[in-house]
Every structure is written in structure tokens, then in C-alpha cells.
Symmetry: C2
Subunit: 241 residues, 2 copies
Amino acid sequence: MKISNNCKLLIVSTSTVFGKPYLSYLNDEIPHFFDGVEQIVFIPFARPDGITWDTYTKIARNYFTSIGIKLKGVHEFPNMKDALRNAQGIFTGGGNSFLLLNTLYELGLIDPLKEVINDGTPYMGTSAGSNILGQTIGTTNDMPIVYPPSFDALKIVPFNINPHYLDPHPDSTHMGETRETRIKEFLVFNNIPVAGIREGGYFRVEKGNIQYLGDRPLRIFKQGEIPFECLPNEDVSFLIK
Amino acid sequence: MKISNNCKLLIVSTSTVFGKPYLSYLNDEIPHFFDGVEQIVFIPFARPDGITWDTYTKIARNYFTSIGIKLKGVHEFPNMKDALRNAQGIFTGGGNSFLLLNTLYELGLIDPLKEVINDGTPYMGTSAGSNILGQTIGTTNDMPIVYPPSFDALKIVPFNINPHYLDPHPDSTHMGETRETRIKEFLVFNNIPVAGIREGGYFRVEKGNIQYLGDRPLRIFKQGEIPFECLPNEDVSFLIK
């Protein structure tokens, strides 16, 4: 499996890092990534905290307006498929991955979204919006609050994503599974590499290349291998080869 | 919705509390609950850490042998449905709820299990084994490592269970959703009360009554209501009325 040479992706772990306003830690990256884009189409279906599509779109619009880019919710267009096909850039926000994927299936938007991303429309996802770029949503942290027709995701990248990757708290007395244990259980049943992206980290994919950026290392899990760390700017091309 | 008067259940949040051997914190409760039972049928399908059915059965057998009760894995019988129908007592261990439920569906064991529990076979579940007693597995903490044919669970109790319920760490800088946020998102889409059982807590259900026991309060979530706490031994009969 490979990645389309046309793909232009920003695969972000979290929209918000502790103590900073929404997306602001990416203030250098986002305008550069969406260079030349006048208007973003926003996909609000992950509905964090159960907020409405409209409310979520306003939050995203506030940010993008502040960096000089217009933003419109995909549901604000007369035809959502056409909205994606004509988009100059797409942003999918975080929330619940089951709800996001289920809504994309319900509205028949999986294939149009795959097509435009593979054809080169710049796509940025945060959290659940990143999760759906992988092979399946099988490594989401979210609760299964709705039952989607499949766990198959957009399959844009040949690996799975675990956003908000979390190391165990050293003083924890909690006996629930650690994130690492959960991902290892996934690998018992699925031969798909998993990128555990800690908050603050992200991938930039462009012209068939992938870069890992941010301020903390990335953790990679593969079936039958010991998990390992990759530093920002380290070569992670093995993920797409 | 009500609960069958015949049901005899031990709905346990976690098999293991910090610093103590497997199930040992329930050493007073379990022999009393399974009083008169000579042999337990164990359901090992949740496979924590991906261990095999045999390995998991050995772990459970070691504990039950130590309290003078024989234990046999349901897969060690020539016919699993008959094994459940003839069981004197049933224990389902924790692990991954998606895998547990999926395996029960695949093996055609959902209906036989529902029948014997509703007919009065004493049933104890820990973690995922408790989760499946609810209406759906929609409030599990587990990763969706396999795709079950439905999220519908055994529907023995008229509410959902969130085992290993976890309060936010006061010093946390992590931006992933808290457990409470996740359950509130569930309630936006599902009108099913949720019992968040902290580690160390459990329900005992018998003769149409439900008791909450353990050393920490229970947290209850209902659609359109502010979540609230119930102390051990407080009246929680509203959960089954």
C-alpha cells in the first residue's frame, strides 16, 4: 500500500493544547498549508460534547477568519457532495469518531471525500478528523455512541492513527488498560501499523512524502514488533512504503 | 423496563484493584454469591492483552480453585450452548468488550446466555463481562478492535455500564475527552441511563433488588439530568424501575 502523490494532508493529534486557544499552536503551520486557499469547507459531524453542526462550524470559522481564510460548513451548501468536489481546502474537526464516520456513510460522502483527497484537495484533520484518514477507526479512543455500517475509514494513509496518544501516568493506581495495551490488543487482530500521535504532534504529507512534526516524539506500533519512538523530523517514510 | 425477579447478578467494575491479587478484594463476596455452586462456567472471550481462551481460563481457574469452586472454560465443553444451559454459575472476565460481544454473536451464544441469566443462573461479570449485561456496549472504554454485528448487549439490566469509571486527574494537561464528557456524548444520542462504576465498586442483584456495594461512590448519568453520586448501600432501586 502507498499514498497518492497528490495527497496534501495535515494529520493533527489535537486541535487544542493545554493553556492555548483553539488551533493557535498551529498558527505558523496552517496558513502555510492552506496557502492560496480562500475558503475552507468544514466537516462538523464529529460534534464534540454533542454540539450542533452550526455551533461547531462557528468555532472553526472564528479561528480561520482570524488567519484570513473564509470557512463554510459542508452542510451549509445546497449539495454536500458538490461542496466537497469544489472545495479549495477541507478541514474536519475532532469529536466522536463513530459519529463522524457514521454520518459520512449516511450522507454518502465517503467516496466523494476519498476522491477529492486523493486528487489533491488539501485536507486537514484534528483528532477524529485525523482518525478517519487511516485504514479503520479501530484505534479511536472514543466511545461507540452510534453504530456505523463499518469501521472502515477513508484509507488515505496505509496505517491507523491513535490521536491524543497518552503515556501511562507514573503514579496511577487505575487498573483499566493503558493506551499501549489497547493498541497492542488491536494488533492481535489487525495487521495495520498504528501511529500514536501525542498532543502537539502532527504529520504533514505532500508530494508522496511524510514528515512528523511537533514538540514530542511519535510512538509507532506494528504487529509482532516492540513499539518504538520517532523524533520530530526523523525519517518516517517507512509508514507510507 | 424492569429486571427479571430470577436474576442473580454480580456486576463488578474491575477484577483487580491496585496492589492486590486477581479478584482477592472480593474474597468475602464471591463465595457467598456462588453459595452451593460446585462448578463455574467461565467465558474467556474478552481476551485481555490478547491472551488465548485457555490461558485466560487458567487465570480464572486458579482463583476459583483457591476458594473451593471448580471452574471450566465454556469452550472446554463439547457444546457451548449446553454448557451454559447446564451451568450452576457463570463468570465472564474482562478484556475487550467488542471482542467479547462479537464472539458471543459468532458462536450463537447471545440468546442462550440471556435465557439462563433471566432464568436465575448466578452470573458474575467483571469489566467487559459486566458491560455486556447492559442495553448496549455503547459506554465501553475499549478500542473497537473487531466489528461486531451489533452494539446491542444482553439487555439484562435496563441501564448501561461504564466499568473502571474514572474521575479526571486534577493536574492533567491532557486535552482528550474526560470519561464524563464521553458518557454525556453517549446520552445525546441514546436515552439509556449509565452507571459509572469506579474500581472497587459493584452491584449485587437478587430477587428483583439491586444493591450498590464497595468502597467508593457510584456515578449516575441520565439524559437531560446533572450526573449525581450514590454512596455504597444507598437506595439505587430507581435503576431497575
